[in-house]
């Protein structure tokens, strides 16, 4: 048997194969969505994936310590960026979500999804175990989640605000805060729903109402959900065949290469394609959860669990939306939807989880 060099051994081949096969499938779907053409989406998505794969591997080689040390700083930095975006939007007279850095548009809210998890993981890692059930364990976390979530809501971007919150809340949950806190918060939240609803923007309210009854407005705002369900439903078990999706090719399906790409895929590949993709995502989430369970440090545990949840949240909300189980919120399907921001976020998440995995292979378990 040929000895495999350690440098090659350290490369997470299985994970790369998993991500690679998801993206390879994605490229086929984008190729079809463009009417049988590699441009404008497929080749760009492929190149982007290769670059971000490099970024991911780069991140995964970094010692976990660094993430822990810089987590607060990073959080504050991203928070400042969010404020800056808000001010720019205020000056520019309208909502704005990104900063133009010249070579790319930076969307700080995307970075916040990662930053919040790292910051809270560090906070709970450093918290003396005895304080876990005290108020000290609660308010800094609530503040850390609440401020950026509120800023993002102002943009207004309900989906991202929810993604930030859910990542943070899951870290709090696995950190061991009393169970009933979550239960009563959920209860209070449910009770406060009408109030929260009234605080939403008109178009957000409309989306929720239409989600509850999509048929009420099949040509207006309910159009997205209706057409998406038609695309998925008409695909059947085996799909209409590669390049044969009429819903996407004849433009009935809006956003067929971005938020609603799952419907585009399902129309041509059917239930088989859909279950295959779901299974691939399931493997990714299972890997993240396993890394969390095997993590050597508490920071690693909490980080991996939080980031896995962040990835899962994307998948779950997007798929619920395209299948008519959630209101239309602008959340892309990880690795599948065309676009750089979300892919960068997801690959960063995976990279950090890899760093946790690498860390757990280097030494004995310790909890401080």
């Amino acid at each position: 048997m040929i000895p495999v060099p350690p440098a090659i051994q350290r490369v997470p081949w299985k994970l790369i194969a998993l991500l690679g096969s998801i993206v390879a499938f994605d490229l086929l779907v984008l190729y079809s969505a463009a009417g049988g053409s590699w441009s404008p989406w497929a080749w760009q998505q492929g190149v982007r994936f290769l670059i971000f794969l490099g970024v991911m591997l780069g991140i995964s080689r970094m010692p976990l310590r660094i993430f822990e040390d810089f987590s607060y700083l990073g959080y504050l930095g991203v928070l400042l960026l969010l404020v800056a975006v808000e001010l720019l939007g205020f000056v520019g007279g309208g909502s704005q979500r990104w900063l133009n850095l010249g070579f790319m548009n930076l969307q700080p809210s995307e970075l916040m999804k990662v930053a919040i998890v790292l910051a809270l993981a560090r906070f709970y890692a450093q918290l003396p175990p005895g304080n876990t059930r005290t108020f000290t364990a609660l308010w800094p976390a609530l503040a850390a989640i609440g401020v950026p979530a509120a800023l993002v809501m102002l943009q207004p971007d309900l989906g991202t605000a929810l993604a930030i919150s859910i990542g943070g809340v899951v870290v709090m949950f696995v950190a061991g805060l009393p169970f009933w806190w979550f239960g009563s918060a959920a209860g209070a939240g449910a009770a406060a729903l009408p109030v929260l609803f009234s605080m939403l923007h008109d178009y957000q309210q409309k989306r929720i109402l239409i989600f509850l009854d999509p048929e009420s407005d099949p040509l207006g705002a309910g159009y997205h959900i209706s057409q998406s369900k038609i695309a998925i439903g008409s695909g059947g078990i085996g799909g209409k065949g590669f390049l044969n999706g009429s819903q996407s090719h004849l433009d009935y399906l809006p956003e067929g290469h971005t938020d609603f790409i799952f419907a585009t895929m399902a129309e041509e590949w059917g239930l088989i394609g859909g279950l295959g993709l779901l299974f691939a995502f399931f493997l990714l989430i299972r890997w993240g959860t396993r890394v969390a369970l095997r993590a050597r440090t508490r920071f690693g545990q909490l980080t991996a669990a939080g980031l896995t949840m962040t990835i899962f949240f994307y998948i779950a909300i997007n798929l619920s939306m395209v299948m008519g189980m959630a209101p239309v919120v602008g959340i892309p399907l990880p690795l599948f939807s065309y676009g750089g921001s979300s892919m960068l976020t997801i690959m960063t998440c995976v990279g950090i989880i890899l760093a946790v995995e690498n860390d757990s292979k280097t030494g004995s378990r310790r909890f401080h």
Partner: protein
């Protein structure tokens, strides 16, 4: 369960808690994955059929192809109404999202003028969402391709290569044929036929087009096309051709119809020609008229108000809806009635310039001296017929008038008639509660007073006098018995002789209107009707609308009658002056087209061109705000 755990909290406890909770989170995630998979399976397997249907109905657009309308042809098969290829573009209001933008684009692309834009705006307001609104018809290939190129930026626009109704002789057949137009929202609500909201589909709105709608309509074809969400056609899937509507054959002679219409010139009036062998209506003209082509293309507001504002009333079919006092044209009929009641046509009466009835003196137009019946007709002597009416009473004459078709509403395809009045004592009692008087009889016998008829009835009367049979007028080949009338040969002969003398006798009232033909002569009777209730001037001049109407009935050839005619020229100042010459030329045209055309061309040179040329010029002048010149002066 976690909350019940009591302190102390240690790192070990925290580790266990983490593991447990991570498993809870992971389990929840796995459950959600399961739910998503189940949901997807449900949509794509259980609801599959429904969504496949919806996807197909998205993708496939079934468009109806409006059927080609059946032709309307004359007795020789010449088209009075046919179809021509037309490139058209419509707006589907439901799909129109940015009205201003699209209308602006169309205005630039098609160079639409203010009139057209106004009409489109008006139609858009009136149309329900799915009902197409015509933007332009008969576009040039360039305009059409300009629209096709810009189609993606013009949602709600439907260009189409189809057929449009065409009336080759235009205004000459306006009142006869009627016109077509897009169905109204109410019509669609009634039948709910998707064809009614298909761009380019027209239904008959008036005249024969309306009457024969079911026959002319045809069966629509269908086209299945694959369309994008924005309505752009990707490809045709299948096509089923339309079935053209059936042809309607009329008794009309298209050339004669056109000639008669043109011969009316700038006058307001009507002319009807009937075949005295069959009752076939050969020409059925009311002028001035409208161009049915304009109506069928969707008439502009200003053209419509131009037509409405014209005091010659081009929108009214005077041949069936114009009621006139027939004047002296009733005298031959009165002669037949008199003989039927035992009067001897050779009995003479002396005209002293009028007739004394009690203490009233009824004037004649001349002092004709001693006359027998045929010569009384020839001279159109009122005194003679006053004497007849005074002797017999009008109740003796009215039944004959009715047998001649006066006061009758005919079952005539596509016509909407006002049938006027033939009065008698019972009628007057019913209507006014008054007794009939001798002076009523005197007025009625010269076609004034309560008597009113329409030009169609006059033509029928002429044909019945000429044939001696109860001819029933017809526009299509329907069978009527046309039985002989209960008049003696002597009675009919006297009336015909009198009418012959009117034209061909020495000093007949229509002596100037003898046919310029060898061996063919025309018989006739002039009539001059005072415009009722107005006594301004003597009716021979002055303001156009206060002048007398000119009427003429006639038939030819005298020896063996074949054609009967009636002509009325509104405010023409007299039958011999205005109406008889028109009848002369129309009958001349039947026998000698060249001669007829020569006469017409000379007139048209004086009037300023053909009907269309004059209409176009008048419309332009009207639009320019210049009042049209008084056409009454032209002849």
């Amino acid at each position: 369960m976690f909350g019940k755990k009591s302190p102390p909290i240690t790192e070990a406890w925290r580790g266990i808690t983490f593991t447990r909770r991570a498993i809870v989170v992971g389990g929840a995630q796995a459950a959600l994955f399961g739910a998503l998979a189940a949901r997807m399976a449900y949509i794509s397997v259980v609801d599959n059929e429904r969504y496949v249907l919806q996807s197909e109905s998205n993708r496939v657009n079934l468009t109806l192809v409006p059927p080609r309308r059946g032709w309307i042809v004359d007795r020789h098969g010449k088209a009075l109404a046919n179809n021509r290829v037309s490139l058209r573009v419509d707006i589907i209001p439901d799909r129109l999202h940015d009205k201003e933008l699209v209308l602006g684009q169309l205005k630039t692309l098609l160079r639409l003028d203010g009139d057209a834009m106004e009409r489109i705006e008006r139609d858009l307001k009136a149309a329900s969402g799915f009902q197409p609104v015509a933007v332009a018809e008969d576009m040039t290939e360039q305009e059409y391709s300009a629209i096709l190129v810009h189609l993606p930026e013009l949602p709600g626009i439907a260009p189409q290569r189809g057929f449009a109704r065409n009336y080759p002789t235009g205004a000459a057949v306006g009142h006869l044929i009627g016109y077509v137009g897009a169905p109204t929202a109410e019509e669609y609500e009634k039948v709910k036929d998707p064809l009614y909201i298909t761009p380019g589909y027209k239904t008959g709105k008036d005249g024969l087009e309306k009457y024969f709608q079911d026959m002319l309509r045809g069966k629509p074809g269908a086209k299945r096309v694959e369309v994008t969400a924005r309505g752009k056609v990707v490809r045709e899937l299948s096509t089923q051709p339309d079935t053209q509507g059936k042809t309607v054959h009329l008794t009309i002679d298209a050339d004669l119809q056109d000639y008669a219409a043109r011969r009316m010139g700038p006058e307001s009036g009507a002319a009807v020609v009937i075949d005295t062998l069959t009752g076939d209506i050969l020409a059925f003209v009311s002028m001035p008229s409208f161009d049915p082509n304009s109506f069928s293309d969707g008439i502009s507001t200003s053209e419509y108000s131009w037509l409405r504002g014209d005091d010659h009333q081009p929108l009214i079919n005077k041949a069936t809806r114009g009621l006139y006092p027939p004047g002296s044209t009733l005298k031959p009929m009165a002669a037949i009635a008199a003989i039927g009641h035992g009067m001897d046509p050779s009995e003479r009466h002396t005209c002293i310039g009028g007739y004394r009835l009690g203490n009233r003196f009824f004037r004649c137009l001349g002092t004709h001296g001693s006359l027998d019946m045929p010569h009384a007709i020839m001279k159109s002597c009122n005194s003679y017929f006053y004497w007849v009416a005074d002797r017999l009473g009008y109740d003796a004459i009215a039944p004959t008038a009715r047998l001649m078709g006066l006061g009758e509403e005919f079952q005539l395809a596509g016509s909407n008639q006002r049938f006027g009045t033939i009065p008698d004592s019972a009628w007057k009692m019913k209507k006014y509660g008054q007794r009939w008087t001798a002076s009523d009889s005197l007025n009625a016998v010269i076609g004034q007073g309560y008597v009113s008829v329409n030009p169609l009835q006059l033509a029928v009367m002429a044909s019945r006098i000429a044939s001696g049979r109860s001819l029933y007028p017809r526009l299509v080949n329907r069978q009527f018995k046309n039985e002989p009338l209960p008049f003696s040969a002597e009675a009919l002969g006297t009336a015909r002789l009198g009418m012959d003398l009117v034209v061909n006798g020495p000093g007949g009232t229509a002596g100037r209107s003898r046919l310029p033909l060898d061996g063919i002569t025309m018989a006739g009777k002039t009539g001059t009707a005072q415009v009722r209730g107005l006594n301004t001037g003597n009716g021979k001049g002055g303001t156009w609308k206060f002048r007398d109407h000119g009427l003429f009935i006639g038939f030819a050839p005298v020896a063996d009658p074949r054609y009967a005619i009636s002509v009325i020229i509104e405010h023409g100042m007299g039958g011999s002056r205005a109406a008889a010459p028109v009848a002369k030329d129309i009958l001349t045209f039947i026998y000698d087209r060249e001669k007829g055309m020569k006469a017409l061309e000379a007139f048209e040179a004086g009037w300023g061109g053909t009907i269309k040329e004059r209409m176009d010029r008048n419309y332009a002048a009207w639009k320019a705000g210049i009042a049209a010149p008084d056409p009454g002066l032209a002849q």
